[in-house]
């Protein structure tokens, strides 16, 4: 009988899973500056003018527009793990979020290619399998064309 592997984030504490997933940033309690990936609790605020050391979790906007994009025609070296054999190229997009004032990288979902993606295109965040190990399905965030 097939056993369902547990699906776990490929990196801990950077995003939620389930419906309408979001990226999890950090927010400085003193001045409100947001950062992604979330800053470590020992780091404090990234603004050099702020002395804040207390950070809280911040849910980033899950929609944005493509700021720029490229693709990976050749398989990246480890620790990248190709989910397919043979390797299939993917599109990488830098997305300017609709709020929070930052640009976040992510792969575009499968089916996108450099001819179909455009700068300025609206996208939304999804969470999908990145690759599988013997024990788990590793999850990562991706960008999907809005309304697709």
């Amino acid at each position: 009988m097939p056993v369902t592997k547990p699906a776990v984030p490929a990196v801990e504490g950077w995003f939620t899973t389930g419906d309408e997933p979001v990226l999890l940033g950090s927010r400085c309690d003193a001045c409100g500056v947001v950062a992604f990936p979330p800053r470590r609790s020992g780091s404090g605020c990234p603004d050099p003018r702020c002395r804040g050391t207390e950070l809280s979790e911040h849910r980033l906007a899950r929609t944005g527009r493509v700021w720029s994009f490229t693709d990976a025609q050749y398989q990246p070296p480890p620790p990248y793990v190709s989910p397919s054999d043979p390797y299939r190229p993917f599109v990488l997009a830098a997305v300017e979020l609709d709020a929070d004032g930052l640009v976040v990288l992510g792969q575009m979902v499968e089916g996108c290619n450099a001819e179909t993606v455009t700068v300025g295109q609206p996208v939304e965040l999804v969470v999908e399998p990145l690759f599988e190990t013997d024990e788990t399905i590793q999850l990562v965030w991706r960008w999907r064309p809005a309304g697709a």
Binding site: A10, V11, C31, G32, V33, V34, A35, F36, P37, P46, D47, P48, W67, S68, F69, T70, D71, A72, Q73, Y74, P76, P77, P78, P79, Y80, V81, F90, L92, A94, A99, D100, G101, L102, V103, V104, L105, G106, Q107, A114, V119, G120, L130, V140
Partner: protein, 407 residues
């Protein structure tokens, strides 16, 4: 000026993919620089190495590894690492020690042996390392970032793949007569566009290779240089040759909030609550160098800039102030930055397009080329009458550098 730091000698191996230990290259470049300077190794009282991170412990302590290979002479030693800026940081350290009166003659060396293919993070499971994470989570190679920057130029300024290819054509032509270049063959625009896409919109021939190689400079206080010129062994090596001095070394970090999406970042800083600084990170690297040297972009005759990709060279034109933002394509289209063009000559050596990148050596190699240009010794690729040269590069983790040399 008495407080100047003079470049007494330069040395550089040919760039290639030989697979020999990095120290062999480092020693060859060091010996050539010492001979060029007419300085005995025994006279060197400071050795500064650029660290190489892919060659084991010997690479972590590159300064002492090269010193030991030359025969330990009791000099002070330091090894520095700043990704692609390592070589400039090494020069900066040597210069500062000399300016502080703590050293008279410094040997600065960068050398590397690189693996084939994409540069990748060191092996092992290292989920706390941002460089490891960008590969694991996103498959974001270095060329992927170059592709993102290139696409942004196309969107903002109407750049085309043909504009990018023209940079390769120019640099390939510059490198043909450079005996130290790895690739010495003219390349046609059509060949660039016909080469396979690596990271859209960039083709294989838009992106630099990784190489083995080493470069070295011998720096000295103005007093030491004057004493040498006064006579004694080796004085002939500098007689009749214009004196080249280091006018600036900039190794600034970005200022918050940095909107540049530098390697290996997965996101930019947020501008939601704090406005971006007046200058981008790359702009600030050059600006700081100009301020130190007391000159501006109009004074520049030659520039050696980090053409990791062809499109990035266009970014640098603007970052160095050679033209306003959005006008770099006009410079390359009319041949302004080529030898014989009507602007500052950019990458007369052939640049990374002809050399490939040897990380800790590259920023030193840029300075070597500028020194040859200012001395009028760049046979076959000489910018006539060059008096002011500037280098520029950017590397991982908020590193970048610019060095200005003048005669």
């Amino acid at each position: 000026m008495r407080d100047d730091v003079v470049v007494l000698g330069v040395g550089m191996t040919a760039w290639g993919k030989w697979g020999r230990p990095f120290v062999d290259y480092g020693v060859a470049a060091a010996r050539e620089a010492l001979d060029d300077a007419g300085v005995d190794w025994a006279d060197v009282d400071l050795v500064v190495g650029g660290e190489t991170v892919r060659n084991g412990y010997a690479g972590y302590v590159a300064g002492s590894t090269v010193a030991a290979a030359l025969g330990f002479n009791g000099a002070q030693v330091a090894t520095v690492y700043g990704a692609c800026a390592s070589g400039a940081m090494a020069i900066g350290h040597g210069r500062a020690q000399i300016l502080a009166g703590l050293a008279d003659v410094a040997l600065v060396v960068g050398a590397d042996t690189t693996p084939k293919g994409f540069l990748a993070p060191n092996a092992g499971e290292r989920p706390d390392d941002p460089d490891w994470l960008r590969f694991r989570l996103l498959g974001a190679t270095n060329p992927a970032y170059f592709g993102l920057y290139a696409r942004r130029r196309m969107h903002l300024y109407g750049a085309t793949e043909s504009d990018f290819a023209k940079v390769k054509v120019k640099n390939a032509r510059h490198g043909v007569d450079n005996p130290r270049a790895r690739y010495r063959k003219e390349v046609a625009e059509e060949e660039v566009l016909a080469s396979p896409v690596v990271a859209s919109p960039l083709h294989l021939l838009d992106i630099c290779a990784t190489s083995d190689g080493a470069a070295a400079v011998v720096l000295a206080s103005a007093d030491y240089a004057a004493r040498r010129a006064g006579g004694g062994a080796g004085a002939g090596a500098v007689a009749g040759r214009p004196s080249v001095r280091i006018a600036a070394v900039s190794t600034v970090t970005p200022a918050f909030p940095d909107t540049g999406l530098g390697l290996p970042d997965i996101a930019t800083d947020s501008t939601a609550t704090v406005a971006p600084p007046p200058r981008s990170f790359r702009d600030s690297i050059a600006h700081t160098a100009y301020e130190q040297a007391g000159i501006g972009p109009d004074d520049v005759d030659v520039a050696e800039v980090y053409d990791l990709s062809t499109a990035l060279e266009l970014d640098w034109y603007e970052n160095l102030g050679l033209c306003p933002a959005g006008e770099a394509e006009q410079l390359i289209r009319r041949g302004a930055t080529a030898l014989g063009g009507d602007g500052p000559t950019v990458n007369p050596s052939g640049g990374l397009a002809c050399f490939g990148e040897a990380v800790p050596a590259q920023a030193v190699a840029q300075v070597c080329e500028l020194v040859w240009q200012l001395r009028g010794e760049a046979t076959g690729r000489q910018r006539e009458g060059a008096r002011v040269g500037i280098s520029a590069n950017q590397g991982l983790f908020g590193h970048g550098s610019s060095v200005i040399v003048v005669r």
